[in-house]
Symmetry: C2
Subunit: 374 residues, 2 copies
């Protein structure tokens, strides 16, 4: 689809993806963990940012971590020669030969996968590389310590190149169980005496649990310039940049009388006579329907000088439209640029006003929104 042609006749909403911000964020992560190699996590279409943009912006990574093997095919077809990790391994044993052909590293998290690998007669020349996943307390995927040690020996004996891996449930908070400390203890015990490189740290652990870095870190949300806690203040001093900017325009303005109601359910009642801006963007674009009155949007004041003001949304987000209180923006008019999230409005702030985290909003960007990689 020719997105520039679309922009001429489309609703004005557009997501721009800034590869320079990707490069900056990856550099920052290297500074935080100079001894570790980096799996850049780009599953879910690079958290909504597109594989194309991720490959362009993150080409100096050591490897890409993904979920769907099609993404490995895409990366190889587009020239990526570094490593690729399949984060949940394979879902059918028939896919093993394709994974080997694509030179993928495989996560192994279940007894069934161990059996598939034991039975597999691959090309002995290359030899698959395995990240064996320990369930150290997350209780989602992974083998329990005893099974883990057995599986390690079995796969090692079968000739695979082994790595140790686990995942933290609460690296972003200190008040929940299991703690990072507990999980680390479990991990150290489970791998004792089994020599192999390690991979533990997600974004939150890279920032706040510096004893967990290990040989391979796995940054996800930080690459996109978003906070692992869901609270932007937690990373504001860490110098990360928003990669996705979601912008649109005011398509209509309503003059509302005091006491009138706005939108579905009439949730917002005008406290005085005021102007309401209607922005092209709604939950079918990926903007959260949960967003409360007061969720900030940024509106360019005038011209292209990048000066603008923050205005609060007013009324229930609809499928295709957002209504905004324009009392802070007396110069706003039909056609004024609006940022829904990005540089001026951290996606974390929108998420917080919607009871979720930035991850969900980025991934939920709808396919009908044109994307421009810059």
């Amino acid at each position: 689809m020719d997105s520039s042609a679309n922009q001429l006749m489309n609703r004005p909403i557009l997501a721009s993806i800034h590869t320079a911000a990707f490069r900056h964020n990856l550099r920052r992560i290297r500074e935080l963990a100079p001894q570790s190699k980096i799996w850049s996590v780009i599953k879910a279409k690079a958290y909504g940012h597109t594989l194309e943009a991720a490959l362009a912006g993150l080409e100096s990574t050591d490897g890409f971590a993904i979920l769907d093997i099609q993404d490995a095919q895409w990366l190889r077809a587009h020239g990526w020669q570094g490593r690729i990790l399949l984060l949940e391994g394979i879902f059918q044993k028939e896919v093993l030969s394709l994974a080997e052909e694509l030179k993928c590293d495989l996560v192994v998290h279940s007894e069934l996968q161990v059996q598939w690998l034991e039975a597999y007669q691959g090309s002995s020349e290359h030899g698959l590389s395995i990240f064996l996943k320990l369930n150290s307390g997350m209780n989602r995927l992974g083998l329990r310590p005893t099974e883990y040690r057995t599986a390690f020996h079995r796969l090692h004996a079968a000739g695979y190149r082994m790595h140790h891996m686990t995942h933290f449930a609460n690296a972003d908070r200190v008040d929940r169980l299991p703690s990072v400390g507990e999980q680390m203890e479990c991990f150290q015990e489970a791998i004792a005496g089994l020599e192999a490189p390690t991979s533990l740290a997600n974004s939150a652990a890279i920032l706040w649990h510096r004893n967990t870095l290990g040989d391979w870190i796995r940054p996800g949300i930080l690459l996109y310039g978003v906070s692992p806690t869901g609270i932007y203040a937690d990373i504001v001093r860490s110098d990360f940049q928003a990669v996705m900017h979601l912008r649109s325009e005011i398509i209509d303005i309503q003059e509302i009388k005091k006491g009138e109601h706005i939108g579905y359910g009439g949730r917002y009642e005008a406290p005085e006579d005021m102007r309401i801006g209607v922005v092209a963007g709604g939950y079918a674009d990926g903007y959260p329907r949960h967003a409360a009155d007061g969720t900030p949007v940024w509106i360019e004041a005038a011209g292209d000088d990048g000066v603008g003001v923050i205005c609060p949304i007013a009324g229930q987000v609809s499928m295709d439209m957002i209504t905004v209180d324009l009392r802070n923006a007396p110069n706003a008019r039909v056609g004024s640029l609006v940022e829904l999230w990005g540089n001026e409005i951290p996606v974390d702030d929108v998420a917080q006003m919607s009871g979720t985290i930035g991850y969900e909003l980025l991934c939920a960007l709808a396919s009908r929104v044109p994307v421009k990689v810059i």
Copy 2:
């Protein structure tokens, strides 16, 4: 993309779209409003169901109502010769000639659009058809009564074929302002003496405000078998069928001890020793991260006989995985079929447990989920 090949190597999640259910639902709507013509609202890629499926299942509609003019191009390219309504009209005046070429009906909701049309020198032969939109209290898009009457006269004088249109804020509830009655009164007053066909009723009005049907109804969510109120009980006796079935499989099972925690934040604590099923599906697929513990999923009991049990989710939904309490499903195993929503689990029930409405979930189906039109 060849989705059958994908299914062989993919994660097992799949959305199937049932065109027979589309046909059934459209027939039911005709029974409810036999005197009215039907605009089938298929914006937002047919609420996530794909235009392809909508065209196949809803071909006996009188017209399709959409948002993006590209969708009109797609419909014409795929043989649709009936009417097409652009629900927000055009966003740039340069697009008028394309809209005319595609024989679109246009909503006109702002003074700016009125000016564009007055200035437009189209092919007089065809003559554009206009649905002039009144703001009767929704306070989102539309002209106020006085402007409305003037705009009607101006566009009528310019030779356009005129229709009256408005949109209800609260057809799905009786406890909010403005009421349907208030909006109807405003509408009747605004159009008094201006002869033209009318279009007012959305899905909720078709069901519950039978005095508002007018000449063209505009069903959206009902076409998809989902409740306009967000509560499935409200339509359960009205005989609509779910069009989208979102299904996946159990990819792993964890044996959990009493007191252990599941997933991010450790939200769920096991009340006894139990099995937890890990389902391939998460918020990056469009399943809501908000879903509370207890949100139902359906798990096939054994074999392909369609018998199954309801199990509650247990633990925070992750980006790619959902964890489920398997105590109701002692026979569940890796590979068991899971319905996230569809026939067995109304999407409304998932939405309710997530603080939203079915509309949002359907539209949020992620592009990484393979879709099969049946």
